[in-house]
Each structure stands twice: as C-alpha cells, then as structure tokens.
Symmetry: C2
Subunit: 315 residues, 2 copies
C-alpha cells in the first residue's frame, strides 16, 4: 500500500480451502490471508482462482464476515462480487461496503454472450444505483477468456463518465498487454487504477503508471512478487521480473487453482488444501510431483510456512 | 403429454416478465404459463430464454412456489436448476422435487472453462447425492455456444451408467443435428429422452425416436409447434415443419428473448412484457416494427390473446 487509501501493489485472488464435506473452511482461509498480508500481499478474495463462482452468495458472505471478524483489515480486502444476477451482485457488494472493504472486483454478468455495451453499462449502473453508496469503489474485472464477456475501452469510458468516483479501476486478465497499455494511457491519468491480471506484466504496468497486479501466483510466490512491486524502480527490477516469471512458468503448465492449492498443501504439510470444488479437480499425483520438483530448482520459497523439498512431496 | 408420466412433446423456456422495478412478475408469468398449457406446451421455466441466469436463487424459488400455488400442474413443469455453484443447484433442485416437478433441466456449472469430464461428472454427482431423492429426473442441458461448457457423449455415457434412473434425458441446443442424432441412436433406446433445442429439429428428432423439443419460439408460436409434435406422422408433417421454420426465421434475426417479449407485449397489448433485465436489452422501436411486420406476412397467431396487426404496432 502507498500513502493513498486505495489498493496498490500486489493482491492475490485468495484460494479457498474446503472441509472434507466441500464446505468453505474459514479457519484455513483466515490463516492463509494472514500469511499473505505478512508478505505484503492484499486480499482479492472471491476471484476466479478462489473458485468463487463455485460458492453460493451465502457462503461468500459467511466467509467475508469471518475474515473481518478475525481482524483482517478491510482496507486490504477487495472481494469479488460480480455475479450473473444483479440482485446477487448487489447483496455481496452491500456486504463488502458494510465491512468498509477497500473496493470490490466486479465481473460482468457472464452467462449471456454477445451482449451489448448498453446491456453491460445497464448491469453496472443497476448495481451502483441500488447499492447507493458514495464510498463504493468498483474495480472492473476483464477476463474475456473465462467470462467470455469482454469489458471494452468504450464501456470503461462510458462508465467513467457517468460514475467517475465509483469506477475505480480494472483488473486486466486478458493477457494482452496492448490492451493494458491502452487502459494505462487513456484512463490511469483520470485516477482509474489499472492492475495487471498477472505478475508477468507487473513491471511493465508499474512503468506505465499502473497500480500493480492481482495475480493467482501471488498466493504462493507472494514475497517475491510484492518485493518487485516495491522495488520496481531499482536497477535489478528486470532481474526480479525474470525470476518471478520463471516461477510462474512452473505453475501455468497445470490448472492454476489446483496447482496453487497443491503447493500450499505441500509446503504447509496439510493435505486438506488439495480439495477442489467441482467442476475443478485436484492435480494427479504425477502432476503434483512434476510441479513440486520443478519448484525445487527455482528461487521459490514460502517463508513462514516451510520450504518445499523433493523428499516431502514423495513421502 | 403421452401416456407415460414423463415430459414429451413441446416445452417452452418460459419468458420471465418483470415489474417496473425489474422484479420478477409472478402474476404475468402465471398467466403466460396458463396460456402455454392451453396450447399444449409444457413449462421449462428458468431456461436461457427465461433470463433465468439473471435471477437469484431466491427469486427463482419464489416464482416456482407462485406457479405451483396458482395451481399449475407440476407434471408439466421442468424448471432449470443448474447454477455455477452446486449449493445453489442443490437448493433449487430440492425445491423442484418438493413440488413434484416432472424433472429439472440442468446446466453444467458454466463459469470455469476447459473443465474436464471428470469435473463435470463430479458436479452432477455432487448434486444427485446431496438431493438424494430417487424420484429425481435430470435433463442435461447442452448449449455450448452460451455455456461454453459442452456435455459430451462420453460424459452422458458415464452419468447414465452411474445414475440410470436419474439421468433422464437432454436438451440439445447445440444446433448440430449430427450430435442430436448420435444421442438418439446411443441413448434414447435406454429411455434417455432427447429433446431438440429448437423446433427446427422437431420433426427429425421425433422421426429419430426422440421425445420432442424445448424451444424458445414455443413461447409464441405455441399451437403450431405443439400440433407438429402431435401430428408428426401425418403426411403434412413436412409442410407443418416448413411453416414453423418460417416463423422461427422471423425471430432469429433479433436477440431471442427480447424478440419473444416484444411479440407477447404486442399481441397482449401489454408493454410491461417488453422489460428485460440487464445485461439483455429490449428491441429498438425499429426492430420491433420489423419483427411484427414480418409476422403479419406469415401464418402466425397467438389464439387466446389477440392477432398482431401492422396497425397496432405502429400505433
């Protein structure tokens, strides 16, 4: 975080642990959130890699309440609240506002495809008007390869013109830095905070005046990514970027949220972390070995938990 | 309906009317359902064209309760219950079972993409095990162009092998009749009821031994489509198919649910029917005129409401 009140730097879409009955496990989630904060990583709970869209609204509300009750600072929380049905989005967003979260990360409604910018504008407007809170800060969530509903530059322009204080920024998970750059050039000067959707673009985003990144791999490679966000103007920033890129490369060979949980389970020596909610599935034993082996050859550690070793994953 | 207890023939994904505050309008929905039943069309409420994925679970439960309380026969109800999060799917499905609905139409979880058949099998299994009711009849919902999560023949085979009484059939909205034919050949003989996803394939589906169709346009061209389903073995069946195809052609030039509501609003002389929930939007005045004009040149009527006339739409 910088001197402003607004989220900056690195946030993680915090992975969601489950009990053996596949219920959300608030205790383990709180512990992982605390560890992330210790690494200087903010909490974008209920993101894509949180399996948030496999959770009901009631489950998300219960988890959010638990996080705040556990004393996690709302100023570091940016829960995902965008659902298909606007009443759900309104309910979750209101709860986030009641807890004074720093902002919310809001998917567009994602079931209907080929919808118009008019329809998406109306969707966001409906939520903003119904929440009716001047403190609301919405970070748009552009992840077209999953949502299949892109947030265009024209839509951002219209939303910013109508709701300048409320439309606070974006997470650009398109993987297309030309798009991120266009947002940095057109909207960041208006105070619209651009977050890259992965740490691959962290240095470039910060050099372009952006706010940081919201990255899945920050769940595990937290300290190194957060350090790059702090030290991006130092001479070794490119080397730091290269190092976090190498760690990312080990993860993206596998389905991401399962890979993240596998490594947390391994490092924390806690198999409960491996559980996934359908339709996502855990890594196979072979994938698990491949992933952990590849990490042992890299500059990767999760200080405060334990060091992954080749021996323990094979045990 | 035929002599069996199972849904056959034509069902409509019933369009959902909204009040001026965009709340679901149970009164108008009940009236439209009654009209559909009068035309011999069953009620696949909460489908894609019902804007069901723009409704919260609580809203769907309230509507379903209202339909049953209004005396609509549960034997003609096949509510859509498939959500992204299995607790939501379980809750809706349990409600449908409590009301003794004929079956449920179940989308796969549709946020996460490129999921495995293992993950989709686990998703359906989780719901079936948690609902835990031997009377449950699930109709799978294959609409890959919208859900982006296809239901493969291999997945059907696995589900049928594990849950033979419960996996009751499918709505194939792929628009690919080769796929429908493969399902008819491989699974219909096991009592797995194949419904075409539009009336375009109604005759071919019935000729292939299938159960019928679940079609958006049955919301408006109800009588003609239902007649074809009854009379498909008569000599004029091909001519009937051609006639319903011509009406369909008038609709598919426009976004479907908005087009359906436009025509109902027009015929019933009730502008409230035009309202759409974002992200979907109503037709423009120009589109409305084009659509209604094109229908006046066709063999199209909604008996029991009124006849559309060129004059009234321009009034």
């Amino acid at each position: 975080m910088t001197s402003t009140d607004h989220p900056r730097g690195v946030l993680a879409p915090v992975v969601t642990p489950f009990t053996d009955d596949l219920a959300p496990d608030a205790g383990r989630l709180v512990r992982h959130c605390r560890w992330l904060l210790d690494q200087d990583v903010g909490l974008a709970v209920f993101g894509t890699n949180s399996e948030a869209n496999s959770l009901s609204v009631a489950e998300k509300i219960e988890l959010l309440d638990a996080l705040v009750e556990a004393g996690l600072p709302p100023s570091r929380l940016m829960p995902g609240t965008g659902c298909c049905a606007f009443p759900d989005t309104v309910e979750l967003t209101r709860r986030a506002m009641r807890h004074r979260c720093a902002g919310v990360l809001m998917l567009p409604p994602f079931y209907y495809k080929n919808v118009t910018d008019d329809g998406l504008f109306a969707s966001y407007a409906e939520v903003i008007e119904r929440v009716g809170d001047a403190r609301l800060r919405i970070y748009l969530y552009h992840i077209p390869q999953v949502s299949q509903v892109p947030i265009t530059l024209l839509l951002i322009e219209r939303l910013l013109a109508r709701y300048p204080g409320t439309i606070a920024g974006i997470k650009d998970s398109s993987g297309d830095f030309a798009n991120t750059r266009a947002m940095l050039e057109r909207f960041q000067p208006q105070g619209f905070d651009v977050f890259a959707g992965s740490e691959s673009f962290l240095l470039a985003t910060l050099q372009g005046g952006g706010a940081g990144c919201i990255s899945a791999v920050a769940n595990v490679n937290a300290a190194a990514i957060a350090r790059l966000a702090r030290e991006w103007q130092r001479p070794d920033a490119r080397a730091q970027q290269d190092a976090v890129d190498r760690v990312r490369a080990a993860f993206i060979r596998f389905p991401m949220p399962a890979a993240l949980k596998t490594v947390i389970a391994h490092v924390a020596n806690d198999d409960a972390w491996k559980r996934m909610r359908p339709p996502l599935v855990a890594l196979t034993a072979e994938q698990r070995t491949q992933l952990v082996d590849s990490l042992t050859t890299l500059d990767f550690a999760m200080p405060g938990l334990a060091e992954p070793t080749r021996e323990s994953v094979r045990a």
